[in-house]
């Protein structure tokens, strides 16, 4: 059972309340595709991903980023039931989408950096630690049903 201290819960819900999910999600996904270009392999249907400007301006990237981060938000709402929250999404990513779980870890790290840039000095080491723990748990939950 994952344990969250009161302080960790505050770091998560307090921050999340101030996040623009559409913007942040779009940015995180765009950065994933730019910083780790091999991740573009999953998005052949997204059109022009040739270079940072194209990726950042791509409406499909923005839309999908929003979708992904909205889904991530379910973890924030269910901190004590993350595994169950992502159970069917895990099956989907394995059976239909065929996504290597390493990609969940990469996106998690990118999300932390996007939050860090947004919240600057409020993103203290303790806050970062909490968020790295959360993204790690979500990545783990998404990989859990792989076979």
């Amino acid at each position: 059972m994952v344990q969250w201290t009161a302080e960790e819960k505050q770091f998560i819900t307090g921050l999340w309340g101030k996040v623009n999910v559409a913007e942040c999600g779009g940015e995180a996904l765009a950065r994933l595709l730019i910083v780790y270009p091999w991740t573009q392999r999953f998005f052949a249907s997204f059109g022009n991903l040739s270079g940072a400007t194209a990726v950042l301006g791509n409406p499909k990237v923005q839309a999908h980023g929003k979708k992904v981060l909205t889904s991530f938000g379910e973890a924030v709402k269910n901190l004590d039931g993350i595994k169950n929250t992502f159970s069917s999404l895990s099956e989907l990513h394995c059976d239909k989408l065929h996504v290597d779980p390493e990609n969940f870890r990469l996106l998690g790290d990118i999300l932390v950096i996007v939050l860090a840039a947004h919240f600057t000095k409020d993103f203290t080491p303790a806050c970062q630690a909490t968020w790295q723990k959360l993204v790690g748990l979500v990545a783990h939950a998404l990989a859990r049903k792989y076979h």
Partner: protein
């Protein structure tokens, strides 16, 4: 993984902007790493790792100095980091996985202190650079 001319320009730009604060960035990255990834503390049983530790500050300065040296010789990272590479292989033997962790924390440090600097392109270049440094430092492990 090869650093393009654009990558090198981006990385030099970052460190030029950070300038004299590199030592602080180094210490901040280490503090973040110890807090976020507690297993990394196992390499420093001889350190006081409490907040504001002089030893962590001192070590942050060393790490930052090495990164600055690497940037100044970015066309020959293997050469510039050769002695450090020997040290890590023969004496320190820090597990390779930890270089990624410190790299992540350094990126977070830059993001919190200079968010405008970390555009997606620069983020990509800096991440590549930090990976390359880690690769050089572990190159002689076996």
């Amino acid at each position: 993984m090869v650093l393009s001319a654009a990558d090198k320009t981006n990385v030099k730009g970052v460190f030029a902007k950070i300038g004299g604060q590199a030592d602080e960035y180094g210490a901040d990255a280490l503090e973040r790493m110890f807090t976020t990834y507690p297993a990394t503390k196992t390499y420093f049983p001889h350190f006081d790792l409490g907040k504001g530790s002089a030893q962590v500050k001192g070590h942050g300065k060393k790490v930052a100095g090495a990164l600055v040296e690497a940037v100044n010789h970015i066309d020959d990272l293997a050469g510039a980091l050769s002695k450090l590479s020997d040290l890590h292989a023969q004496k320190l033997r820090v597990d390779p996985v930890n270089f990624k962790l410190l790299g992540q924390c350094f990126l977070v440090t830059v993001a919190t202190r200079n968010p405008g600097l970390l555009t997606p392109e620069v983020h990509a270049s800096l991440d590549k650079f930090l990976c390359a440094v880690g690769t050089v430092l572990t190159a002689k492990y076996r």
